[in-house]
Amino acid sequence: MENMTPILSMENIEKSFNRVPVLEKVNLTLNRGEIVGLMGENGAGKSTLIKILCGVYPKDGGDIILDGKKVNIKDAEDAQKLGIRTIYQELSLFPTMTIAENIFMHNEIGYKNHKGLIMPLDIKGMNRIAHKVLNDRLSVDLDVTRRIEEIPLAQRQLVEIARAVYSDASIIIMDEPTTTLETKEKEQLFKVMRDLKAQGKAIIFISHHLDEVMSICDRVVVLRDGHNALDERTSDINMNDLISAMIGKSVENQYPKVKFELGGPLLEIKNLSSRKKYEDISFTLHEKEIIGIVGLEGCGKNEILRTLFGLCPHDAGEIVYKGKGLRLHNIRDAMNNRFAFLPGERKVEGIFPIQSMAWNTTIASMEKILTNRLVSTKKETAIARKCVEDFSIKVNTPSQLISRMSGGNQQKVMLARWMQTNPDILLLEEPTRGIDVNAKTEVYKLITQYVQQGKGVVMVSSEEEEVLGICDKVIVVRNGKINKVLDAASASLEEIKYYSVNDSADDTEGASC
């Protein structure tokens, strides 16, 4: 296999937007039965490269050679005909349609070989084949007549993959497929990827997660500022090589954790319960402390956090804040007590996409930009500019649309927005989801600076590594209950993974995870 012609070879690809080069002589080759990791910081050019391959953007220069033949990919349909399929970060499934209908979308089978827009559909046949594809090629057993909105996120991804496999794609591009997955689901995805690889498919795997790329990929290609920065077999390099290739300099420490002397108790949670979501949750957050809550998807960790922001009612237990009992019925209760909350789904619940960076920065603290009850653009811009400086946000002007900023910078704007409310307690949901290595470190620094002033942070994260790197205490939640409390300084990744899945009462058995 090694010596065959590569199935795909992109040579000297060039692309500019408004005469600004985004890709300069970029190369990417892909062999049959190979998984190649494509990495790079936001703005490095990886999505542009992929969009050229998928026919979304035309290329300015260079060649795309498929199976030894030069091809011209004009649009997305061309790309699909050539066997190139992309599985996007934002899943492109139709939620109200069934699994089978989604797999056969734009590929429907007509009853008795009818064709055209008004053909009668062979629904039974399609259901049968859909089930077979999932079963034989992906080794999963799903009821294909269920609607997409009824099945968990991880399974939806499998449906997307099944769609690609069914359409006989030879090249499958996965754009950050693991962002929303839990450990177990990731394992399943990786298994599917290995199966596909064994079937001779070629996969381009885009991810911000170094460990995943190292473990699943055969080779990794790193882009930096529109150039090839690295192209090596994963067996020949280590994670630090990857990071330095991505950011162009070597890094010492991704987690700028400073262990502060903890202050007095800030927030005491006593036997908090919410029907069917979580029960009997107790912990204490001290000044200058960062607590991480981890666990599998659906274990109740997000609901616990959201209860503290008045978003999710609790029906038993007590929340004691600075020595006083607290009722948190709604968001305003929480905000009046100086709680701040950054939601995990930044695009859905965080940003106002068609508004400016300044608008997004000041929206939670409008009293600061009012003069005589009227909005003062001067004050607004001044605050936004100060935030740009304090949070090292990269933006042309504060009037730039936030949707035109990178994920990392959007997240910094979110932090800046809530810092304007002078919160005493910061509640974070997936604080670094979908942002690049450099930006992650900067966000960690900002969080650390914040707790230094005697504040407290509670965060929920599905990235165990970051929880260990940045938190003081890690609470592992399993089935709505606190399963184990770990000291972040001495705990290991394996311990977190273990307690996410196994009951701590069974500790003595020491079963493997």
């Binding site: 937007f17 996409p353 929206i363 009227l374």
Partner: protein, 330 residues
Amino acid sequence: MGNQVELSKENKFAGTVKKLLSANGAGVVLAYAVLVIFLSIATPYFFTLDNILIVIRQAVWVAIMGIGMTFIIAMGGIDLSVGAILGICGVIVAALIKGGMNIYLALIIALVAGMCFGFINGLLITKLRLAEFIATLGTMSILRGIIMVYTQGIPVYGLRFPEFQFLAQGFIGFVPFPIIILLVLLGIFYILMYRTRLGRYTLSIGSNEDAAKLVGINIDRVKLTVYTLTGLLCAISGILLTSRSEAAVAEAGNGYELDVIAATVIGGTSMSGGKANLVGTIIGAILMATVRNGLNLLQVSPLWHQVVIGAFIIVAVSMDTLSAKRHSNQ
């Protein structure tokens, strides 16, 4: 990131020009310019002060309600009941005055009634969680029905009271009084939209309601306020229309909701919410009145008016969407 900074320097001038051309509502200004030039050549009377004032006066009802509609559409909603609220407020003020009530008191009652109808829309949307389209479709039908039941289809006429006539027929200097009312309202609501929390929160809800909730915005309160204010604006329009015709007709304002929505969208306010162009809405309303005026001056058969107006709406809005598409494609 570095790329973006470079880009902004290099293309600053070109960028400004492009921005102006692709700004919300650039299409409507262009369409309006073409229309005015055409009509000025086609009929000499068109471009006289008299006629211009007539056109604007005809646009006033739609323009005033359009101010409210701009808030609602910018908030991601829609209000189909504006024409019906206009109608019923007109009937209320006419009936009260005719019944011998003090004119000013009658005006206040009609205004309050308008606010109440708007408030009811707001309650249906925020408390019963009805979709805006359905809630206001329902109130539209109910209010229209009440008008018919009350008037039995017979106009309430004979409102020949100088103070009342002045509202729509009077002049201050050479400027018709309703135009002054429109300008004052535009000024107030312009400040509300762009310089107050209410405006910010309205636009925030329109651009991302989930995020708006999570920054502590009381969404129900903002929606109630906006629908109530729109009800008030409809009442003002209703009073002006009644004063103009010196009678309240059962069909008054019938179908105005579509004109108001069209004026708002032609003016560059996006149906998907989050963006508002109040001045554009006024221009949109004037544009539609100009088309009607032009058709009259050109002595086009009234049977053809709807066809031309419909075509104009499509042309004006597509100019905007086309320029927006060009803008986002780069």
